[in-house]
Amino acid sequence: MPEIVLDNVSKKFGETVAADGLSLSIKDGEYVCILGPTGAGKTTCMRMICGLTQPDSGRVYLDGKDVTDDPVDTRNATMLTQSYALFPHMTVYDNVRFAPQIKGWAPEDIKQVVRSTLHMVHLEQKAEWMPAQLSGGQQQRIALARALASGSKVLLLDEPLRALDARLRINLRKELRTMAKQMGVTCIHVTHDQDEALAVADRIAIIRDGRIIQFGTPSEVFDDPATPFVATFVGRSNILTGKVVRSDGESTAIDVAGTVLLARPSPMEVGEEAVLAVKIGFTRISKKQEEIDAAYFTGTIDRVLYEGVTITVEINAGGLGLISSKLPNRKFDDYHAGDIVGVSWAPSKASVFRVPPEGLEKELKLE
């Protein structure tokens, strides 16, 4: 039985559309990330699930039950926000104890639950501290403990790691997933950080303008994006537009400014305008003559960006524009500005889309 279902919900705030016929169904115990640009309606989506926002139309189901008109406190769906909202006048212990006490559990059960959740987030020695005395990472973990101790079966994480520094974020996102799985809760995690979503989610829902545009596993979303927007939003892609010159079971051939490029098979027909997207990590370059000969096209290296584990080489490919290729760091000494390289990719790694009706530029815009 699906645990959380949003059925065709819509919500407007004045002129702003936060949800536009949005449907989503999440399985019991699943860890789902909602990924989208700022203002896409991510937070509204969560607030409708826990009841803090009432949809204008559509229904919300939890555990098969229509809860659209139920008050917040009866839904057993707990939220965790980027500000953590730890109650400033209560100790860590009292914060965690809040939900069990409100729900009137037996005193010994309360004690047991609070102790074990604090132990789980490794902060039992801070029980008597006030929230203001804790570091950002500790506050985040207390907020998590408070949510887990509530016995809620649904955990809504609204950009829970946003206020933390980069390394802590990477550690904590793993912990979040581990604990959610351990407790068997269904978890929705809103973020605008694609790496975070790819790393922790069972499935990722890409949301934009109040609608879900793709819902799939991290590898589906990354390798097989549903739209050019998803292709650029989750991992950077090189985007090229041209005309389909051949389309068969093996590949789609697209003529871009006189150069024929290959992509995976598609239902598109010869003569149609098409958008080709290939992740910069799947874009191969080479300086070897035989590979230059076999490449789709050649270009001159404009500059090489040093990024630590990886480097990104930017290639000026004449009429095709600027093409980027992400390579491992060990290749750093192989490429220099001014070098001529051949560019190619495995056709199965490149996606093909119809040109969006409102134009490609608008499709790719982030805001």
């Binding site: 803090l52 406190d73 400033p88 809620s152």
Partner: protein
């Protein structure tokens, strides 16, 4: 316990929640706002009474000059407050020195003194033979000057407080950044910090102006002690004067005069508040031009020190010494006191203030919650402005208006005490609600939301999460409202002659020339105020320590 549980359960119902809010709104509109300005309708229904006044040159001139005195005094007082309040706010917020906490407490003292008491104290201080001998300097204080000196005392703390509140929110780094970019301190303050001040200036201006406009007891007592209460009037003191003699205030002409004064003062005060808000928002301090030389000169050497010195001297000589002068009476031989009457009036005063504050909290909390959380909504903004109305209206006019409104429902003199309580609720309500709004805005709204997602019912989210966080603001607002109610004269007299609160009792004593007795009553009242405030501080201080 079961009652709380029932409230908890009820709060889950959206209809009950909005019902409660609508109820609070209705009470606010029907019991506080409408009765406060009801007198305006009398302008139309009782035009013949007003017409009598307009046709009688003598009374007309008196009424108009009284209104003019009120507004010009309020204006002068407010300007002086701004000039000396600004450097004081600076000292309180940006400087650290030994004894700052004492200065902080001293600043608020005049607020705890009923203005009637201040009236006695100030006149005693400035007029010989008991006080300082001004004639030696060739000066004699006109009633006009005396009222200005008196009004500065109880408006000054409001100005300093509103300015400090804003200054605290202005990051000193702005000034520092300006100075690292080459501006002298004076130029940095003038071009960067001052323009950010407008909001605080508007609040301070409106508060001080309204307070001065409204003040009755102290002014009337001061004028009585100078023996000019029948020849020199402010708007409220004129109404007080009429109320002192039943044959006066029941006459048609004087009824008309009261209506006229009340309406003029209410309308002018409201228009003025509106204009000031608009004007200060648009007003541009000419900060584009800079005079680096002048700026550097006034930022160096003794000038800044001189400015601080003058500020402190003003506080001591103009505000503090005259306020505390009343304690000189403790050196006089103990007069024969009518303790029975004093005790009754104390009981009435505390009863009225206590009931008013409780009602303020009960109907003010939902209002404050709504306004704080819907600041950008239309209804939120309308309510936000409406809440200020009873604060702006002169309390004498408010009281008069209120008695006409409820009198229309046939509430006769046996309901006087109830009406006085209604009046006190009206002008204390904004103090409580303003404080609450400020405090609620500081709290992250997700605190309540998260509490609800954790399973708390809306009322539990309020009582267990929000309320404990804001309870110091509730207490601060209540103390402010309580002391304000305790010190109020104008509203009480204009509603009824039969409700003898302490300030009214003191006024009667002064009218009878019993200054020493009046002073002793004042001292008792001040002492009770301080014991109460101290007690509340101890209790709440202990509680917050336990919480920590």
């Amino acid at each position: 316990m079961s009652l709380l549980k029932r409230i908890d359960d009820l709060s889950d119902n959206r209809k009950v929640r909005s019902g409660w809010f609508v109820f609070a709104c209705l009470v606010f509109i029907l019991v506080i706002v409408v009765p406060s300005i009801f007198v305006v309708t009398n302008l139309f229904t009782d035009w013949e009474l007003v017409d009598l006044v307009l046709n009688n040159e003598g009374i007309k001139d008196t009424v108009l000059s009284a209104v003019f005195n009120s507004f010009s005094i309020a204006f002068i007082v407010t300007i002086i407050d701004i000039l000396v309040g600004l450097p004081m706010a600076w000292i309180m917020v940006r400087k650290n020195f030994h004894g700052k906490r004492w200065l902080d407490t001293l600043l608020d003292m005049p607020l705890a003194f009923p203005t009637a008491v201040l009236g006695i104290s100030v006149v005693m201080f400035w007029i010989s033979p008991d006080g300082i001998s001004i004639p030696g300097l060739g000066l004699s204080l006109s009633p006009y000057m005396m009222v200005i000196l008196l009004h500065i005392i109880f408006t000054y703390p409001y100005m300093v407080r509103s300015l400090s509140a804003i200054l605290e929110q202005i990051d000193p780094n702005f000034e520092t950044a300006g100075m690292t970019l080459g501006a002298s301190r004076w130029t940095a303050v003038r071009t960067i910090t001052l323009p950010l001040f407008r909001a605080g200036l508007a609040t301070g201006f409106v508060l001080c102006f309204a307070r001065s406009l409204s003040e009755t007891g102290g002014t009337y007592i001061a004028l009585t002690m100078m023996g000019v209460q029948t020849s020199f009037f402010t708007g409220p003191s004129f109404i007080s004067f009429l109320k002192s003699d039943e044959s006066l205030y029941t006459s048609d002409e004087m009824m008309g005069a009261q209506i006229l004064i009340s309406v003029v003062m209410i309308v002018l005060a409201l228009v003025l508040m509106f204009v000031v808000r608009k004007f200060i928002a648009k007003f541009r301090i000419p900060y584009q031009k800079v005079w680096p030389q002048i700026g550097r000169k006034v930022s160096q050497g003794g000038l800044p020190k001189l400015k601080d010195g003058i500020t402190i001297a003003f506080l001591i000589v103009i505000v503090l010494l005259p306020s505390f002068y009343i304690f000189m009476y403790l050196t006089e031989p103990m007069p024969q006191m009518d303790y029975g009457t004093l005790l009754t009036s104390i009981a009435i005063s505390f009863g009225v203030a206590g009931v008013a504050v409780l009602v303020d909290i009960a109907i003010g909390v939902p209002m404050a919650l709504y306004i704080a959380r819907h600041k950008n909504g239309k209804l939120g903004q309308i309510l936000d402005n409406l809440v200020n109305v009873p604060l702006i209206i002169p309390t004498t006019a408010l009281g008069f208006s209120l008695s006409l409104f409820w009198g229309g429902f046939g509430l006769d003199s046996s309901f006087d005490l109830l009406l006085v309580i209604f009046g006190h609720i009206s002008f204390t309500y904004p103090l409580v609600v303003r404080n609450l709004i400020g405090a609620i805005e500081e709290v992250d709204p997700s605190c309540e939301e998260i509490a609800m997602t954790l399973g708390a019912k809306p009322f539990q989210a309020f009582s267990k999460v929000l309320f404990p966080i804001i309870n110091s603001a509730v207490i601060a607002g209540s103390i402010l409202a309580f002391t304000r109610s305790l010190g109020e004269t104008g509203a009480t007299t204009s509603i009824s002659q039969n409700v003898n609160t302490v300030p009214i009792y003191i006024t009667h004593l002064v009218e009878d020339g019993l200054y020493t007795e009046a002073a002793m009553c004042s001292i008792v009242l001040i002492a009770l105020c301080f014991i109460l405030m101290f007690g509340i501080r101890v209790v709440t201080g202990r509680r917050s320590k336990r919480d920590a």
